[in-house]
C-alpha cells in the first residue's frame, strides 16, 4: 500500500476495484466503513454484488476480466473534462502527452461495449474520482489475477497520476496483501528478480554486494518464477524445497501441478500439517507454527512487526529458518550457523536499504509515538515511512502507461458459456489447513457451494441446493448450487478453499506474461445438472 491503513478513514472518494474487502480483509474494511459513514463517496467495481456494493454510492458491475477497458474509459473522461492535476503532472510525471493522445480514443461508450457497465456510470465514476480532493484506490487480487494484471495495475496508476491522487494523506494506490507475511517474503528476497530489499539481481553492483556477504557470486540473470518452475519440473527442474505452501490446492490447474511435483527427483516440504502437497514429498519436515515461533513479519502497509512464541511446539517441530539452515550446513554451505532468529533478521536488515534502520530490538519494542516501523526505514534515527511517494517517486517520475485492453486467455463460447470467477470467503482461509482445523468455523461455513444467479439456475435447469457438474477446458468437478443475487447473470463464483471441491482443477487458462500470476479470476465453464 502506498498509504497507511489509518488513511482509509480519510478519503473523500474511495474507488474499490477487484477487492472483496469485507470478507478478505475485514478489519481494513472497518476503516472504509467509517469513511463512508463520515460522508465519503464509495465507488465499487466488481463483477459480483459483494458486501462493499451494499454500502456503495456507485456500483460498476463489470464483466470479469474487463478492468483495463473500464479504467481506460475513466481516464478518457478525466482528460476530456479537464480534471487533470496539471501541476502534479508537470512536476512529478513523465509521458503524459503521449498518454493524453492514447486515451482520446477510449471513450466510455467504447468501454461500455467491453465492460457491460453503462457509459454514464463510467462517466460518473471518473467525475467523482477526478474531482476528489482526496481520492484513494484500493484493490486486491481481482486486479492482479488476470493475464493483464500488470496492465490493470498500470491503468490504476494512470488514474492516480493524472489526478495527483498519490503521495498525500487519504489518497494513494493501495493493494491489500492477502497473507500475513507475503509482503515480508518479498522484502526478504524470496523473489527470482530481487535480492532482499528489492535490489535487482541484474545489477552488477548488487551482485558484488551479495557476493561479498555470501561468499558466492549469484547469477546476473533473473531466476524463473514458481509458475515456470512448475512447468519445467522433470525437464530442467529436478528438486524443490517448498516451505509452508499447499501448492497443489492453491495453484491453478491442479492436475498439471500434481504431475509436475511427481516428476521431481527430490521434493522436500516443510509444513505444520501433512498437506496434499506434503504427501507427495520425499522428505517432510515439521515446522513450528504461528504462536510457537519467534520472528518478524511485515503487513500490507509495510509495517514490520514482531511475532512471538506463546506455547511450545508439538513433538520435534522446529522453526523453518533452523530447518533450512541445517540442510544448508549439511551441504557445506557457509553462513548458516544461526541459533536464534535474531541474527537472521539483523542480517536481512544490514543487507536491505529499506530495512537499514531496523533491527530485532527495535521491532521487539513495537511501534511507538516516534517509530512507526513502516519501510523504507533508511537509517537508525528514521521513524519509518507511512506514506510513499510524498516528494518523489523511487524512479524519479511517475510513468504513464499506454495500456490496451486484451481479452482474457479464454472467453466464453458455446462449449463453455459461463464465466467462473474464484476467490475467498470470510470464514475460511486459503486451503483450510488452518481454518478447517479450527473448531466452530464449520458452523458458519460447512461446505463450498457455487453462487449462481436465481434466473440462471432456472434457465440452466439447475436446482438450488442440488449438485451440478462444472467443467472447463481442463477438467470437471461437482459442486452444490446456491442461488444468490450476488452473482450477476452469466457469472458464477466459488472459493478454492475446500479440498473436496477442487475448483483449481478448472482454473489456469493463462498467466500474466510479466508477473506469471495466474488468471484465477476468469475461467469459462459449462454447468450441467447431475
Amino acid at each position: 500500500m502506498s498509504n497507511p491503513l489509518v488513511d482509509m478513514q480519510k478519503p473523500d472518494v474511495i474507488f474499490c476495484i477487484g477487492t472483496n474487502m469485507t470478507e478478505c480483509h475485514p478489519v481494513a474494511a472497518t476503516g472504509l466503513k467509517k469513511a463512508v459513514a463520515r460522508g465519503a463517496k464509495l465507488i465499487v467495481a466488481d463483477p459480483r454484488r459483494i458486501g462493499l456494493v451494499e454500502m456503495s454510492d456507485l456500483y460498476l458491475p463489470l464483466r470479469v476480466g474487463s478492468d483495463t477497458a473500464l479504467l481506460l474509459g475513466m481516464a478518457h473522461v478525466i482528460a476530456r473534462e479537464g480534471l487533470i492535476d496539471e501541476t502534479f503532472v508537470k512536476n512529478r510525471t513523465t509521458g503524459f502527452d503521449d498518454f493524453f493522445e492514447h486515451i482520446s480514443q477510449w471513450t466510455p461508450e467504447w468501454a461500455e461495449t467491453i465492460t457491460e457497465v453503462p457509459a454514464k456510470d463510467i462517466e460518473t465514476a471518473a467525475l467523482w474520482y477526478g474531482t476528489a480532493n482526496r481520492g484513494a484506490i484500493y484493490y486486491t487480487l481481482g486486479i492482479t489475477e488476470h493475464i493483464c494484471g500488470v496492465e490493470n495495475v498500470q491503468s490504476l496508476c494512470n488514474l492516480a497520476l493524472m489526478t495527483g491522487n498519490i503521495g498525500r494523506e487519504g489518497t494513494g494506490i493501495n493493494p491489500m496483501r492477502g497473507q500475513n507475511n507475503i509482503q515480508g517474503a518479498g522484502d526478504s528476497g524470496a523473489l527470482p528478480n530481487n535480492y532482499p530489499g528489492f535490489q535487482a539481481v541484474t545489477d552488477p553492483e548488487y551482485q558484488a554486494k551479495f557476493e561479498a556477504a555470501y561468499g558466492k557470486a549469484v547469477d546476473l540473470e533473473k531466476g524463473i518464477t514458481k509458475v515456470t518452475a512448475l512447468e519445467l519440473c522433470g525437464d530442467s527442474i529436478h528438486a524443490m524445497l517448498i516451505d509452508g505452501e499447499n501448492t497443489l490446492l492453491s495453484d491453478p490447474d491442479r492436475e498439471h501441478c500434481e504431475h509436475a511435483l511427481r516428476a521431481l527427483e527430490h521434493l522436500v516440504v516443510i509444513d505444520i500439517f501433512l498437506t496434499e502437497t506434503a504427501e507427495l514429498a520425499d522428505v517432510v519436515l515439521p515446522a513450528t507454527a504461528w504462536g510457537e515461533t519467534d520472528g518478524i513479519c511485515t503487513n500490507t502497509e509495510r509495517r514490520v512487526q514482531r511475532l512471538r512464541a506463546a506455547v511450545p511446539p508439538p513433538g520435534d517441530a522446529k522453526p523453518d529458518w533452523w530447518i533450512i539452515s541445517q540442510i544448508a550446513q549439511r551441504l557445506g554451505f557457509k553462513g548458516f550457523d544461526y541459533n536464534t532468529p535474531e541474527p537472521v533478521f539483523n542480517e536481512l536488515c544490514e543487507l536491505s536499504p529499506i530495512y537499514a534502520g531496523l533491527d530485532w530490538e527495535r521491532i521487539d519494542k513495537g511501534a511507538t509515538d516516534i517509530f512507526n516501523n513502516q519501510w523504507p526505514v533508511p537509517h537508525k534515527a528514521h521513524p519509518g515511512t507511512p506514506r510513499l511517494h510524498e516528494k518523489t517517486f523511487v524512479n524519479g517520475r511517475g510513468i504513464f502507461s499506454n495500456v490496451h485492453y486484451r481479452d482474457p486467455a479464454e472467453t466464453i463460447s458455446d462449449d463453455f458459456p459461463v464465466w467462473l470467477t474464484t476467490g475467498r470467503r470470510l470464514q475460511s482461509y486459503h486451503t483450510r489447513t488452518q481454518t478447517g482445523r479450527s473448531e466452530g468455523i464449520d458452523y458458519l461455513l460447512p461446505e463450498e457451494s457455487l453462487e449462481v444467479n436465481p434466473t440462471d439456475i432456472e434457465e440452466w435447469n439447475l436446482t438450488d441446493g442440488e449438485w451440478c457438474k462444472m467443467s472447463s477446458a481442463r477438467g470437471s468437478i461437482t459442486i452444490k448450487v446456491k442461488a444468490t443475487n450476488r452473482s450477476p447473470r452469466g457469472t458464477v463464483f466459488a472459493s478454492f478453499s475446500f479440498a473436496d471441491v477442487p475448483v483449481n482443477l478448472l482454473t489456469g487458462s493463462g498467466y500474466d506474461p510479466i508477473t506469471h500470476t495466474a488468471e484465477l479470476k476468469v475461467c469459462p465453464v459449462r454447468l450441467e445438472p447431475l
Binding site: N181, C297, V311, G436
Partner: protein, 362 residues
C-alpha cells in the same frame, strides 16, 4: 499546541478544542470510573459513573459527554460524587445474576467486578429483581448471557461504529431493555460476522467468548475465575492487515485470543478468523516428527538427523546430476521473514542462482 486552560481538582491544565472532561482527566491520571465508555466509540453517557462536579452547574455532569470549555473548574472525586458512584454501582450490581466471571469471557469482562472491588462494595447491599434474559443461541462463538447485561450498549455501538455491521440493537425500554438481533433470532441469521468485538468490549461478561469457555471447562479444567492467564503479544496469522493480538495461554495451552487495543493496524478490531480460528495450532493433526519416504513408497517417521541427511543428500545428488539450475526454492508467505530470508540465502549462497520465489502468485 493545547491553547485552552481549565482546572481539575485544583490544578490548572491545558486542553485542545473538542476534548471531553474525561479525556483530559484521564491524561492527568484521574481514575474516573466508567462502564459504558470505550475510547474507540462515541461517548454515550449511559452509566453515569463518570460524573464530576462542574462549578456553576446545578447537577453533576457526565464527564465522557461533556466537552471542556476554557476556564471551567472541575472536581472529579468529591465525597458527594464518590457516594453517588457507589450507589449507582450497587444498583447496577443488584440487577445482575453474578459479578465475578471468567476472564476468558472477554477483554473487558472484569470491569464491573474491578469497580466493585475498588469501592469495597458487597454484591448484596441492594437486592431486587434481576434484569435481562439470557438467550440460547447455538452458535459456537458468542455467549449471550444477558442476565449479566447492564445496558451500556457498548456491544451495539462497537458493532455499529467500529464494525459498521449493525447486527444487534436494543429492544424494549428501561428495566426490560434487552440486546437483540433483527427479529430476535440467532446471531447466525443476523448481519453478525462473528468478529467478536461485542464480547471484547462487554464490561460484565454478558457477552462471552463461548469457544474459550468451552475449551477451558471441558479440556483444560481451568477454574472460572482463574486469574493467571498469560498473554503474549503477536500478530494475527491470517490476511495481510497485520492485526495485533494477545494469545491467552494457560499451562502451555492456547485458551483464547484478545485483540490488542493499541495494535497499530487494528486498534482493537479483529475478524472471525483472527478471533476464533486459533486452535489449528494445537490440533492433533500437527506434524510432530520428520517423515521420509521409504522403499515401500510410504512416508515413515524418522529422526531429524536422518531426515536432514536425506534432504541434503537429495539436493547434492540432483546438483551433481543436473547442475545448479535444477533446484528450486519456494518460500512461505505465512512463515516469518527469517524463513523467507534463509530460503533465498539457501538458493543464492548455496547454488548461485535466483531460482527462488514465494507463494504470492497464487
Amino acid at each position: 499546541m493545547m491553547k485552552h486552560k481549565m482546572e481539575i481538582d485544583g490544578v490548572e491544565v491545558a486542553f485542545s478544542e473538542g476534548e471531553t472532561i474525561l479525556e483530559i482527566a484521564q491524561r492527568h491520571q484521574k481514575e474516573i470510573p466508567t462502564l459504558c465508555y470505550d475510547p474507540r466509540l462515541e461517548p454515550f453517557g449511559g452509566c453515569r459513573l463518570c460524573i464530576v462536579e462542574l462549578e456553576g452547574a446545578r447537577n453533576p455532569v457526565a464527564s465522557c459527554t461533556t466537552k471542556a470549555t476554557p476556564g471551567i473548574v472541575v472536581r472529579t472525586a468529591t465525597n458527594t460524587i464518590e457516594a453517588y458512584r457507589k450507589t449507582l454501582l450497587e444498583m447496577v450490581i443488584s440487577e445482575n445474576r453474578e459479578v465475578d466471571v471468567s476472564p476468558l469471557r472477554g477483554y473487558a469482562s472484569g470491569e464491573l467486578a474491578d469497580l466493585r472491588d475498588r469501592y469495597g462494595l458487597s454484591d448484596t447491599r441492594i437486592t431486587g429483581a434481576t434484569s435481562g434474559t439470557s438467550k440460547t443461541d447455538e452458535n459456537p462463538f458468542i455467549l449471550r448471557d444477558y442476565e449479566l447485561c447492564i445496558s451500556c450498549y457498548r456491544c451495539v455501538r462497537v458493532c455499529a461504529e467500529q464494525e459498521g455491521d449493525h447486527a444487534i440493537n436494543v429492544m424494549n425500554r428501561g428495566f426490560h431493555t434487552q440486546i437483540t438481533t433483527e427479529f430476535d433470532g440467532p446471531l447466525k441469521d443476523s448481519a453478525c460476522t462473528f468478529c467478536g468485538q461485542c464480547i471484547q468490549t462487554c464490561p460484565t461478561g454478558a457477552l462471552g467468548d463461548k469457544k474459550a469457555l468451552r475449551h477451558a471447562e471441558s479440556e483444560l479444567q481451568i477454574p472460572s475465575t482463574e486469574p493467571n492467564i498469560e498473554k503474549t503479544r503477536t500478530i494475527c496469522p491470517y490476511c495481510g492487515v497485520g492485526c495485533s493480538v494477545d494469545i491467552l495461554t494457560k499451562n502451555e495451552k492456547i485458551v483464547g485470543i484478545h485483540p490488542a487495543m493499541d495494535g497499530p493496524a487494528n486498534q482493537g478490531a479483529l475478524c472471525v478468523k483472527g478471533q476464533f480460528a486459533y486452535d489449528f495450532v494445537q490440533h492433533s493433526d500437527r506434524l510432530k516428527t520428520p517423515l521420509v519416504r521409504g522403499k515401500d513408497g510410504e512416508l515413515h517417521e524418522t529422526t531429524w538427523e536422518e531426515a536432514l541427511d536425506r534432504a541434503a543428500e537429495g539436493y547434492r545428488s540432483v546438483h551433481a546430476k543436473h547442475g545448479r539450475h535444477s533446484i528450486y526454492g519456494i518460500a512461505s508467505g505465512r512463515a516469518p521473514s527469517e524463513a523467507a530470508y534463509i530460503m533465498q540465502k539457501f538458493i543464492r549462497a548455496g547454488f548461485g542462482t535466483n531460482y527462488i520465489d514465494n507463494c504470492s502468485r497464487a
